[in-house]
Symmetry: C2
Subunit: 502 residues, 2 copies
């Protein structure tokens, strides 16, 4: 994969413009965001790292037969060495009936053979157990198990499925983790329309005992989906306090405050059965319109927390252009930590911090990028053809960042739910010696996905867009107010497939 590099380092003031060519790109399919070979995808599933094979595995909700959601619904499968580019392996788990679906779930590596399924001949790192929801007869949702002896390429379903059945049509999305302190498996599930994230506990991945309910917390929307739970490090722990905390995530759809699908999270403690949040505030993982069904990887090599979300929104996911024979893509894989950051001059909060996992040889500039912005600036991403552009910008007087993904594409123009312009507050990362507010912004544009990271990842916004013609090809940074300046420590733009802005 050839790539070129052009780097600009300059200070701009008064109407100055930096315009940099991204060069021509091959087609409209994202290059470092996972997309399926064909058909429809939604939630990421079964994310795990195989330490024997040294590969990341990603499964996903998959309908290979059409570009809309439908049964039979499968787990598709892809693997990656670098979390940027993916090899496709087709269908991994199939339903037994055409009107059934293998719904979302997770994978764990059963190294100690707690399930009793694996022969000693199977390397501990290849003892793969998938736990998913069967969408079965009469739309009933039960939790099932499947085993893989070959590192996750083929699966055999457990012969005593289901492992949990509460006779519900709204009970799904098992995310299983190993809880070191209690030496138990813990499964997160949702009773989706009761607004409950539930825990179940097990010694063997097969027999599960109900643990606790976490209910009516956060923004409720229509229902909860896709729960998750992980422990991650605090980047700047307070002296004498813990340096790790648990994070509970869940997805709501429909009913995001901005419409459709969104992820939210809580920071707190977990004793192996019950999650206790530090506070009852609502916080969104990503404030964009295209970030849903987040899941973290199991069994990462160094215990770091990395995860990925579906980069779409149920409001319009089945209506976006499908000229290339597929619909749906994942976000970049991101690393998740916690950090105390100020959200106003008087209050620090422990926020979930996200950084894209980028191969150093391509993209190692994140930490070097910074904007000092005491006034207005606009960053435009222009199409290679025509006069289309999308933009993000900051307004010092309002104190918020805006996203404007308006294009001329007929889909965007005619779809009533493809919100094009909205905004979010971002507290300055710090202040300089003259008390000017210092923000940090960087972003990645990959064909039709824009991911923006503010303040070293304390706030993110992930959004798809569809140019009527062409692909992203130029970036323009403008500031147009007197007595103001935007300092760009580094503007790095990479060809052919991605760029980083300021």
């Amino acid at each position: 994969m050839a790539h070129n590099q052009s780097t600009h380092q300059r200070k701009m003031s008064l109407s100055s413009i930096v315009s940099s060519g991204l060069g021509s790109m091959i087609d409209g399919r994202p290059l470092i965001h996972m997309t399926p070979p064909q058909g429809w995808i939604n939630d990421p599933n079964g994310l795990y790292y195989n330490q024997l094979e040294q590969k990341y595995h990603m499964y996903y909700q998959y309908n290979p037969n059409d570009t809309v959601w439908d049964t039979p619904l499968y787990w598709g499968h892809a693997t990656s060495d670098n979390l940027l580019t993916w090899d496709h392996h087709g269908v991994a788990i199939s339903p037994d009936e055409d009107d059934h679906g293998i719904f979302s779930g997770s994978i764990v590596v059963d190294k100690n053979n707690t399930s009793g399924y694996f022969d000693d001949s199977i390397d501990p790192e290849n003892r793969i157990v998938a736990l998913y929801t069967l969408f079965g007869d009469n739309e009933k949702q039960t939790q099932e198990v499947a085993f893989s002896n070959d590192g996750g390429y083929t699966f055999e379903k457990y012969n005593k499925n289901p492992v949990i059945d509460v006779n519900s049509t709204q009970f799904r999305d098992p995310k299983v983790i190993w809880h070191e302190e209690t030496q138990k498996w813990v499964m997160l599930l949702v009773k989706s329309q009761e607004y409950k994230v539930q825990t179940y506990v097990s010694d063997n991945l097969l027999d599960w005992e109900f643990g606790s309910n976490f209910t009516k917390e956060g923004y409720l929307g229509f229902q909860y989906e896709c729960p998750g739970l992980f422990k991650t490090k605090i980047e700047n722990p307070k002296e004498g306090c813990v340096d790790e905390k648990w994070v509970l995530v869940m997805a709501i759809n429909p009913g995001s405050p901005i419409g459709g699908s969104i992820n939210e999270y809580f920071v707190g403690d977990f004793d192996g059965v019950t999650f206790t949040p530090d506070d009852h505030a609502t916080r969104f993982v990503d404030t964009g319109k295209d970030f849903y069904a987040f899941q973290a990887f199991d069994n990462t090599e160094d215990g770091r927390i990395i995860g990925v979300a579906w980069a779409s929104n149920w409001q319009y996911a089945q209506r976006v252009p499908d000229d290339l024979g597929y619909r749906g893509s994942m976000s970049l894989v991101r690393e998740y930590t916690l950090r105390y950051d100020y959200t106003n001059p008087e209050t620090e909060q422990l926020l979930l911090v996200q950084r894209p996992v980028l191969d150093d040889q391509y993209l190692d500039v994140a930490d070097e990028l910074a904007v000092e912005a005491i006034t207005n600036f606009d960053i435009k991403i222009l199409s290679s053809i025509g006069d289309e552009s999308i933009k993000i910008g900051f307004d010092g007087k309002v104190g918020e960042f805006y996203i404007n993904r308006h294009t001329s594409h007929v889909f965007q123009r005619e779809n009533n739910f493809f919100t094009e312009r909205w905004s979010n507050y971002v507290e300055p990362l710090t202040r300089d010696t003259d008390n000017n507010k210092v923000y940090q912004v960087y972003g990645i544009v990959d064909k039709n996905i824009l991911e923006v990271y503010f303040n070293n990842g304390a706030f993110t916004s992930t959004n798809t867009f569809f140019f009527e013609r062409g692909i992203p090809a130029n970036i323009e940074v403008t500031t147009d107010v007197d007595n103001s300046f935007v300092e760009i420590n580094k503007l790095s733009i990479r060809k052919p497939w991605t760029c980083i802005m300021i």
Copy 2:
């Protein structure tokens, strides 16, 4: 005030259109939404009903000298018999210094002269006490008291002000209520950047004792403002349970999930000192972009809870067109109750329900309006000149309502924060005998404000808009999908100043 009525009662299917003229209107100033004679307004303040005079009093944050926020900042004053049209009385309370502001606050009627300020000659219903925040030297915010002997037209400041001073620049917006059960005055305040709603308690409105903190609940944004607390009836109480509950409201700005300013609320119990929410979910009072700083009226004649919000958003309030010499308007005054409503097929929630207070002679059709919608429909509000329109609509497949307030106005086109298109989930109000989803929608268009009420007020969306030319003059209702129908039980459109849509 002349008005005409045209009523349509019909069932529509397949591309049928109802188009009804709203007739010509005099100018662009709203007719039943409070606007100032000139200058700038923001939060409503000091709302109360004078039972002697039989008038509603509304005060508001007021800069009569310009159409932007600035000091000196005053309390402006208006009164009304019908809560629709207002008589203006200019400035009611002024700061002593040009760089000071009489910030937001409330009024109570001190009938029993607990303050000791009033002579016996003053009718109990005319013993008016205003409590507000002084924005004073070095931007310090302290709580002050002013008395009125004449029913709220003129005020004398308390000679021992301030009554609460904690040496903070972020401590404001006193909302005082009489707590019957403990026979005490209770003041709600915010330590805005600590995300705290605080209570203080008093016997005499002058000496205040700290009560409790309600903190880090809801969506936090940048800061809390404008707290409120009231007890209101449950329309459909459960057998054997309480039929009233307390509602705590607060405003956040900036930092709404959709950008800028928004109000949120909690339902629970209050013992005179501490508010205990029933759950920790985040719920917004109104999902539009123009509904902020809600406050309820004190001393209403029958104890009903009515209140009003500023119909703007700090993101763009100081930039909207001011051709008519003013900026800012209030929402309609609304009545607030609670109701158990389903938010999905499995869960009922106790929701805050809002209905506009409308004079029966003009607008009494709310209960008769209904839409049965199992598919898509669009409601367009067209300008009297040109081809501009704004619209709301429903998409059965997505299951959400959208708002699209896009116009050709240069302000809207060029302001990055004037979000034009977004959406919200609304659960069907009920289902008919064929299991079709039944929604109910009605709305009020008043020159440049659209208020939409879903499901008898369980969800609302309040938004301003600015046509490039003309004023709202026609409504068009369209449905265009096969095998679908929209039943409009009554479409009532009133001239010259308002209309109600299905």
